[in-house]
Structures are given as C-alpha cells and as structure tokens.
Amino acid sequence: MILDTFEALAMVSAIFAILILGTTHLRTNLSFYSLHTMAIAAVTAWIANITHEDHLYLVAAGVFIIKSWGIPWYLNSVIKKINIGTDGGAFIAAPLSMHLGALMLGLSFMISQQIPGLIGEPDSRLGSTAAMSILFTGVLLMLTRRAAISQIVGFLVIENGIYLFAVTQTHGMPLMIEMGLLLEVLVAVMVAGLLLFNIKKSFEHIDVSQLTELKD
C-alpha cells in the first residue's frame, strides 16, 4: 500500500490524539492537542494542493490559527489561573486508555471498510480510518477523564475527528460553513472556559464526576 502524504499526516494526527490519552498532565495534553490540530491543518492544506480547491487554504489557515494556537493558548491561561496541573484521576489508568486508543485505531481501520457508499474509493480509506480513530479517542477522553478541562479537550478532539472526516471524504464543506464551525467552536470553548472559572470558584475543584447534586 502506498501511503499518500495527506494520509500519512492524517495518521500522524490520529497518533497525537492517542498520545493525549497517555498522560493526565493537562499542559502536556494541550501541547499534544495543538500538534494534533497542526497535523490536521497540514492535511487540509495538502488536500487543497491536490484538488486545487483554493478555499481549503483559507480553512487550513483558520484551523491553524484558531484551533491549534488560539484555543490551546486560551485553555493554558485558564489552567494557569485556576492553578490545576493534572487531571485528578481518570476512571481508566492513562497507559491503559492509551492502549485502548491504539486498539480503537485498529477497529477504525476495520470499520472504515464497512461504511456503505465509501467503498470503491480506496484512496480515502486511511483518511477515514484516522478520522474515526480520532472520534473514538475523543469519546474515550470524555468518558474516562474527570477534570472539566479534559472534557473540553475531549469535545475538541471529537470535533476535529468530524472535521478530518469531512476534509478527507468530501474534500471540505463550503467555506462559509467551515468558517462558521470554527467560530462556533471558539465561542463554545470560551463559554466553557468561563464556566470552568466559576466551577473552580464555587466547588473548589473541577472534578465533573462530583457534579451530582441535581437529580430527581
């Protein structure tokens, strides 16, 4: 199998996503997230190069500036202000969940063949494998981590997976929509960051598994 450059890049981004699972140190998590998103921006630019769809360059620039610089920078400053260094405790130990993530990558490779309608496009199989693996990684992050900030990172990783899927399978959605999505994610992270301050202030922790006051 000959690996296209963009497929190799997509795989790199999937591997960085799995590395996020491997540590509970929040700043390292954010650095890995940043690298993972940079790889995705590179995939976008490379696909723009292949398909000559110029609007994808703009999208790639947007992803690079907003998602791989802006958001990690903002979240880093939030972490610094609320003074929390590590995720209090994952439900599944970090090394184990990293191995689970690797297993998911294999699973995604198998599933990517099963998606009806995508068969017959062999060139996009690895792209969708990487996208799906990133999606699973994000879900795993959200399920196994307790700190509120890891939940935000998990959401961002899921969103990246969906974005990568769109880029590799459909060569990007229309420009207006992509830009709208970027803006939306940015606003969502900022709102969540503000809430995070308040959670820390009123509860003195950011452990979401302890937010169980409300029930029937």
Partner: protein, 480 residues
C-alpha cells in the same frame, strides 16, 4: 436580502444595547416593547409565506417556507411573552428580598436577544450546515440564561447543558458530513448541502450514506430536543434557570431542534418514502412518551415536573414527524408552547410566593391566590391534552392518523402513555392546588402576574375550539 436585514436587525441591536444601557429599569421596559414590535416586523416581512404557499429566498442557503414562518412567529411570540413577564418576575424577586445585580440583568437581556436571533436564524436556514451552526448558536446563547441564578446548582446544570448538547450536536455535524458525502457519491452533478435542492434531487443521492447521515442527525438533534435516553440535560437546565428562561427553553428552544429533525427527515422521506429508517422516528417518539410518562410519576420538584412533561411533548412531536405530518407537528408544537410557557411562568410565580420548589411542601394555592390556581389548572389540562384545549385536537389527529397508517400498536402504546402522564400530572397538581392555605402571597401582584399566562391559556383554548382537524391532518394540505 433587505428583508433578511429587517428580520435580524432589531434583536442584534438590542443585544448590544442592553449590555450598554446604564439604567437596567429602562432595559426591562424597553426590550419587551421592542420585541413585540419585532413580532410585527416579522409578520409583515414574511406575510407572503404566511398566507400563500410561497417560498422566500433571501440569499443562497437562507430561505423560509410556510412552516418556517409559522415557527419564527411562534418563537418570537414566546420570547415576547416571556420577556414581558420577566419584568414582573424581577420586580417580584426584588420585593422578595433577593434582587439580582445590574450586570447580571444586562447579560440576561443581551442573551435573550442573541437567543432570539439564533432561533430565528434556525428557521431561516435552507442549508444543513447553516442549520447546524444556528442550532449550536442557540445552545451557546442560552447557556447564560441557565446560569442566571449564579449558584452551584445553576452551575452544574449549565455545565451539563453545554457539554451534553455540544457533544450531541457534534454527532449531528457528522451526520451532516455524511449527507454531504451522499450528495457527492450520488449521481448529483454538484455536491450540495442545500435542503431544498437535496429534497428535489433526493432520488439521486447515495441512499446508504444518506441513511447513515440521517441517523446521526437524529441522535444529534435528538439530544438537543430531549429524546429519551439522551434527555439528561433537559430537566436540570429547565429546573435551575429562572422561570422566564425555562419558559423560553421549553417553549421555543426545543422546537428549533425538532425543526432540524423535521428538515433532515423530509430529505430521507423524499428519497425513499416509508423506509424503515423513517419508521424509527415514530418508534423513538413513542419510547420517549412512554419513558417520560413513567418518570413523571415520581417527581419531587415543581419545575422538573414540567421539564419531564416537555420531554413527553417532544416525544409526541417526534411521533408526528415520524408520521410525516408537518401540519400536525406544528400544531402540537404550537399548543405545547402556549400551554407550557403559561405553566412555567405561573410556576415561577408560585415558587417565588411560596419560597420552595419542592412539590411536597406546596399546598393550598387555591386559597392563597384563586386566580393563579384557576390558570394553573387550566394550563395543566391544556398541556396534558385534555379537551377542549388545542393539544387534544393535535394528539387526537395524530393517533387517528397513525391508526389509519396501520401503526395501531404504536397508537395504542401512545394512548396508554398519554393517559398515565395525565394521571401523574393531575395527581401532583391536585396536592399543590388543594389543601390548607400557606399565606404570605399578599405582597405579590397576582393580577399583573396573570395577564400573560391568561392570554396564553385563552389562546390554546381558542385553538382547541376553532381548529379544523381535516385541514391539519391532510398530507401537506397546509404547509408545503
């Protein structure tokens, strides 16, 4: 293009203005008046769609049809009612001794206007991508409304609301990508996300991908609408936000998510009428109604009771979507919005007056404040679908339509579940309304607080009496 500006200009301006007007008392009076004015503007601009079966295109990807117009008017109407009542609500809170800060109120009014703007744009979208963006924008703009009380409970509710809805909606985005891929892998020349193009070219789409996309969109928007196992955020958010905000969430936000499901399901219905996937929607609606009716039996919190009743009504609306009946979907949404907004506003009054949200500590509203007791009773009957209110007509037509479609098992289960929820809600409300008086209601202004709910209850009563079932249950007779 100009028409579009007319529709969105006022809420956008108000959102900014309410942040900067120094005197919050002025904002509290000004915003309601202008939002009612906005209702007039929307009705005026969109009247061609309202009367005829026309289709108004603003720019590529933004268009509105008859159903969208109805929903925009409904959402604007709900927001006007709630924001008018909010002035009273804040005055009563001040009288009660827990006044809210000026900054808090400014943010509230700014968010309400952004929220209205986001909801209006949901119904203007003719593009699945824009639709997704608009629906996510409704989540973000309403998060400050849920966090209004600034306490631990509100914080927890807001966090859950934001995370659960955002992740849920992310799956709808995946579904949107699949539908885009379906238009690419089909025989369509130009891939598109334009809903009306997708519907008109539905036969040429790649069906397996479309089906996959539909299921993801159903899960995603279903989370936002509160379909059964994905409803967890809904009772928390509805119970912890202040009464006018709960009323807006229940009366207009849920409609936005359901409108998204409706749009996607009309694509799949055009591609393959009576497919199994579409059957799934009706089944999901039934499951939601059954689950909500059972959960309604054991409620201890006044506002959570209405939140679960909203879930039940969402189930009914999803059922109507599953039957493929747009008119019935709208009729149910309209009646639910009117009755539920009245209920949430009245419940807010009663909670403020009695100082507790717990159902078992409430009694004797009928002696303390007969007019509230009367209105709450009427609104309760209206929301549970008792005759002669509008919801009865909608539910009856839905059941008979599903019978004539041959889905009598679903209709039967639905009937039993509606009956259970009726009994459950009436049992809870009986304890609240009857019994010895609590006193302490005197300092509130019962008449002023009853105007808006009374109008709403009267509205749903009129609907129940005048609506012609024939016109509403026919396929597409009224709404294109």
């Amino acid at each position: 293009m100009n028409d579009l500006l007319y529709i969105i200009a006022l809420p956008a301006t108000l959102a900014i203005l309410s942040l900067f007007i120094k005197d919050v008392k002025l904002t509290r009076k000004l915003v309601p008046v202008l939002i009612w004015w906005q209702l007039g503007i929307v009705a005026l601009v969109l009247h061609p769609c309202l009367l005829g079966n026309e289709h108004m295109q603003f720019i590529s990807g933004l268009a509105v049809d008859k159903m969208g117009t109805y929903f925009i008017l409904l959402a604007t109407f709900v927001v006007s009612c709630c924001i008018t009542h909010a002035d009273y609500f804040f005055a009563a809170a001040e009288a009660n001794g827990d006044a809210y800060g000026d900054q808090q109120l400014r943010l509230f009014y700014a968010s309400v206007n952004l929220f209205l703007l986001a909801m209006t744009s949901v119904f203007l979208c003719d593009n699945l991508g824009y639709l997704w963006i608009a629906i996510e924008a409704t989540t973000l703009s309403s998060a400050p409304l849920v966090y209004f009380e600034r306490n631990k409970f509100a914080l927890e509710a807001t966090w859950k609301y934001l995370i659960v809805c955002s992740v849920g909606i992310a799956f709808a985005l995946l579904g949107t990508v699949f539908i885009f891929a379906a238009s690419q892998r089909g025989t369509l020349a130009v891939p598109t996300l334009n809903i009306s193009e997708l519907i008109s070219q539905a036969q040429t789409l790649n069906f397996p991908l479309l089906r996959l996309g539909f299921i993801f969109c159903l899960i995603g928007y279903g989370t936002k609408a509160g379909i059964f196992p994905l409803h967890t955020w809904l009772p928390d958010a509805h119970a912890e936000s202040p009464a006018p905000a709960s009323a807006m969430l229940s009366g207009s936000l849920l409609n936005c998510a359901l409108f998204g499901i409706w749009k996607v399901s009309s694509i799949i219905n055009a591609a393959q009428p009576h497919s199994h996937v579409h059957q799934l929607v009706a089944i999901l609606g039934t499951i939601t109604v059954v689950a909500a009716s059972l959960l309604l039996l054991r409620q201890h919190n006044f506002k959570r009771l209405w939140a679960y009743s909203s879930i039940e009504n969402v189930g009914l609306m999803v059922f109507a979507i599953g039957l493929g009946s747009g008119p019935l979907f709208f009729l149910q949404a309209l009646n639910h919005s009117l009755a539920k907004v009245a209920l949430f506003l009245l419940t807010g009054n009663i909670i403020q007056a009695s100082g507790t949200k717990k159902l078992n500590k409430m009694h004797g509203v009928i002696e303390d404040c007969p007019i509230w007791a009367l209105l709450v009773t009427l609104a309760t009957f209206a929301v549970t679908g008792a005759p002669p209110f509008g919801a009865f007509v909608a539910e009856m037509s839905m059941l008979s339509l599903s019978m004539s479609d041959g889905r009598w098992v679903l209709a039967l289960i639905m009937t039993v579940a509606i009956a259970i929820s009726f009994v459950a809600i009436c049992a809870h409300m009986g304890k609240v309304i009857l019994g010895p008086a609590k006193q302490g209601f005197k300092k509130f202004q019962p008449v002023r607080a009853s105007i808006i709910p009374a109008v709403l209850v009267f509205g749903t009563l009129v609907l129940g009496l005048v609506v012609n079932t024939e016109a509403w249950s026919g396929p597409w007779s009224m709404i294109k």
